[in-house]
């Protein structure tokens, strides 16, 4: 993904005066300046694809809610889905207020900042330059900010699978708000902002290090710190609704096209390549997992199939713009194999990463980030194999290290301050009853 976009202002920006003054006064925020920039034509095709990509990535959030919601026990379904929906609400607001500014504003250190990006007020009328068929064209800047915002929403939602069925809602809300500002936004800045220190080195097309590895390690850290659900692993915890998990997987697959192919910020050749390898890796991942289970257990399960889909999709995410079709098949297959054994190992180690956030997102993210080096499509200006491999490893280590440490601090502080984990009674009664006062499936009992 290109990360340097020259801002172009289309026409004079006119926030309602009253509110501007009021806002500026009350919030003590400076007026923003905006430079005059040349008037580039909007490319409606690219704009259309970026708009729909944004919608597709949002579709992944209810898709994730369904995926996770189907895997937990009946008494925790709504609480689990609320984890994804809360991310839509909380990060959805945070991102436009400060998140985008921190992630994509100028600044070379921990994060950036640009008062123009605060509340997106400076870019509402601006255009972002893109190249179409060698010519300078533009897309509305907002669509880029929104597309990126969907990534910011889904990442903390991914984590929630690791401590499913045992966290308090209020503490969870605070956790994801802080996590998104203190972990996601900096990583995003480092990798995708033009002055980020990893920019132009590690290839991370659509978010292997920024999204999946960081969410994976955050989940692992939280699962280890919080400890297992009451009863785990002695008591088996059966999925309440594998059918919904499959539906969710279907929506995730569809949404992932927007996730990966939209990350080209174009509607051209690389977009099509990204869509293609996404499709291929998902199919290959599912195919491989089905085969592994068929060989290992003589039974291919539906949960295995959707796990393979996810493994393939995660692995191809950092690689989607840069690997060949053969590489996509390879990454999908390898990711499934390694994730399969990672989950087997988790079960041996006995910690409770309930829905295998690290086992799928962390592991497949690492497989993809490192593995892509072996399957790169030739392109001008690529560093040598060894150099690239080092860049990728560096990216993975930075993500694991930074996200791991900060996530730990967050979990620790929030837990000490207000209690992150549900107590035994709450866990036994279930999140839906004890936290939300609701009942997921009224139909199960008579009404």
């Amino acid at each position: 993904m290109e990360s340097l976009h020259t801002p172009i202002e289309k026409k004079s920006f006119g926030l309602n005066k009253l509110w501007a003054v009021l806002g500026a006064f009350v919030l003590l925020i400076p007026e923003y300046a905006h430079a005059e920039t040349p008037d580039l034509p909007i490319d409606t095709g690219t704009t259309a694809w970026m708009l729909i990509s944004t919608a597709l990535v949002l579709l992944m959030v209810p898709g994730l809610a369904m995926f996770y919601g189907g895997l937990v026990r009946t008494k925790n379904v709504l609480g689990t889905m609320m984890h994804s929906f809360a991310a839509m609400a909380i990060v959805g607001v945070l991102w436009v207020v400060v998140g985008y500014s921190m992630a994509f504003g100028p600044g070379t250190g921990w994060a950036g900042w640009d008062w123009d990006f605060f509340l997106l007020r400076g870019i509402e009328d601006k255009l972002m330059e893109i190249e179409v068929n060698g010519q300078a064209m533009a897309i509305p800047w907002l669509v880029f900010a929104m597309f990126q915002g969907k990534f910011a929403i889904i990442t903390p939602a991914l984590i929630s699978g690791a401590f499913a069925e045992r966290v308090r809602f209020k503490a969870y809300c605070i956790y994801i708000a802080l996590w998104s500002l203190l972990v996601y936004v900096p990583l995003c800045h480092w990798v995708w902002s033009s002055d980020g220190f990893l920019a132009g080195k590690a290839i991370d097309f659509a978010g292997g290090t920024v999204i999946h590895i960081s969410a994976g390690i955050a989940g692992l850290v939280a699962a280890l710190y919080l400890g297992a659900r009451r009863g785990y692993p002695l008591t088996a915890m059966h999925p309440s609704n594998l059918v919904m998990t499959m539906m969710g997987a279907g929506l995730l697959w569809v949404g992932w096209f927007g996730f990966n192919a939209g990350s080209s910020v174009a509607s051209g050749l690389q977009t099509a390549q990204a869509l293609t390898v996404t499709q291929v890796a998902a199919a290959a991942g599912a195919f491989a997992w089905i085969l592994i289970e068929a060989i290992h257990h003589k039974k291919a399960t539906s949960l295995g199939t959707v796990s393979g889909i996810l493994a393939g999709l995660v692995a191809i995410t950092p690689a989607a713009g840069d690997v060949t079709v053969v590489g996509a098949i390879a990454l999908g297959v390898i990711a499934s194999i390694i994730c399969y054994f990672a989950i087997a190992m988790k079960n041996k180690l006995g910690y409770d990463d309930s829905l295998d956030v690290f086992g799928i997102h962390g592991v497949a993210g690492i497989v993809g980030a490192i593995g892509l080096t072996f399957f790169l499509r030739g392109a001008e200006g690529r560093p040598e194999f060894g150099t690239q491999l080092w860049y990728q490893t560096e990216g993975v280590m930075v993500s694991l290290g930074y996200a791991g440490v900060v996530s730990f601090v967050l979990v620790f502080v929030i837990d000490k301050a207000i209690g992150l984990k549900m107590n035994d009674e709450e866990q036994m009664a279930g999140m839906d009853h004890s936290i939300h006062g609701e009942h997921a499936y009224g139909m199960l009992n008579l009404d």
């Binding site: 009863g231 692993p233 002695l234 008591t235 088996a236 059966h238 999925p239 997992w289 592994i292 289970e293 290992h296 257990h297 039974k299 399960t301 949960l303 295995g304 796990s307 399969y340 989950i343 087997a344 079960n347 295998d356």
Partner: protein, 115 residues
């Protein structure tokens, strides 16, 4: 009259019903439940791993019958509900409870002929 309550494995429902029908017992009430007897582990795969469930899905049958049918009924269930020759843990239980009266709602009949 007795009320026979049987708890069986879900995968055996069809076999048991056919066995009962073969023995002339067609009237039955069936519901879902979960349970735990001596059963330890059912082989269920969770992401490729074998896990031990606590409450295991079962099927409950309620059959009201006249006293002379009790044995036939119990035997039919027992024969059909077993996994394999020797049976398997989890295959279930049959409970026999006294039944004092039965009414058929449609005809308002009662007693043995209403069963």
């Amino acid at each position: 009259m007795k009320l026979i309550i049987a708890v069986i494995q879900p995968d055996m429902l069809n076999q048991v019903r056919e066995s009962l029908v073969a023995a002339g017992i067609t009237r039955i009430t069936v519901s879902r439940c979960t349970g735990r007897g001596k059963a330890t582990d059912e082989e269920t795969l969770y992401r490729g791993q074998t896990v031990a469930p606590t409450l295991i899905p079962k099927i409950r049958l309620d059959i009201a019958c006249n006293d002379d049918f009790v044995d036939t009924c119990v035997q039919s269930i027992m024969k059909a509900a077993k996994h394999g020759e020797k049976g398997a843990i989890g295959d279930g239980k049959i409970f026999v409870v006294p039944l004092e009266q039965v009414y058929r709602i449609r005809t308002e009949e009662s007693g043995g002929e209403a069963i």
